[in-house]
Symmetry: C2
Subunit: 112 residues, 2 copies
DNA sequence: CTGTATCCCAGTGGATACTG
DNA sequence: CAGTATCCACTGGGATACAG
């Protein structure tokens, strides 16, 4: 997206282009808690395949919101963390978390 | 999603399930500005097809975040607006808008 | 105007096997 | 461990035609 300049820089569309999909948002949720290894994220983001995880991490790296650090060890270790730009997205994930918490409380726990 | 109870109510995942895709977020952006007719949204959400718009509006209606009101006129008029639940998502879109604004300012307007 | 109904293609993403 | 490489199924989404 963002290919056509007919989008005169809508802020919401810009953000959506960077993290407006399920997997990126869930990966963000984990990385906001701190640096993580590949397999950790794979385990924590429920249902994601190795392929899709790799693809999304690469995109996020290219967009400058994720930093990838390779440690030349055996077995290999690769750590992913948020860049400063990535961390600046924290308020968005937080607001989603806040809303979700309320929603669950009010709508999914009708056991009053 | 949310089919497997292996998701022990993660707030972010819950929110992502409801509005974690491009089109819904952009539709939200418009409806947060006020009630709109079908064709208005179609015009304002750049690139969306009639079919996809209808599908997403139906899903959002079923999820209780959008209200659909039909006026028995000729030609027909249908107005879409946010429910109270839908409007409660405002902070999320706002934080995305805020972040996008900063991002554009800092990264896409390097004309200093 | 506001849809529904088809057809169909491209891309997303799952499963599996293999590698450094 | 952290990928890459395939193969493939499914579906999101475009185009088009038609309807109330």
């Amino acid at each position: 997206m963002l290919t056509k300049e007919e989008l005169p820089f809508c802020p919401v569309a810009t953000t959506v282009d960077l993290i407006g999909n399920k997997w990126k948002l869930l990966i963000m949720r984990e990385l906001l808690k701190g640096t993580k290894r590949f397999n950790e994220i794979h385990r924590l983001v429920d249902g994601i395949s190795q392929k899709v995880l790799t693809e999304n991490l690469r995109k996020m790296e290219n967009d400058g919101i994720v930093k990838r650090e390779v440690f030349p060890e055996v077995p290999p270790r690769v750590e992913y963390s948020l860049t400063e730009l990535g961390d600046s997205l924290r308020p968005i994930i937080n607001s989603m978390s806040d809303w979700g918490t309320d929603y669950i409380k009010n709508n999914l726990m009708e056991q009053k």
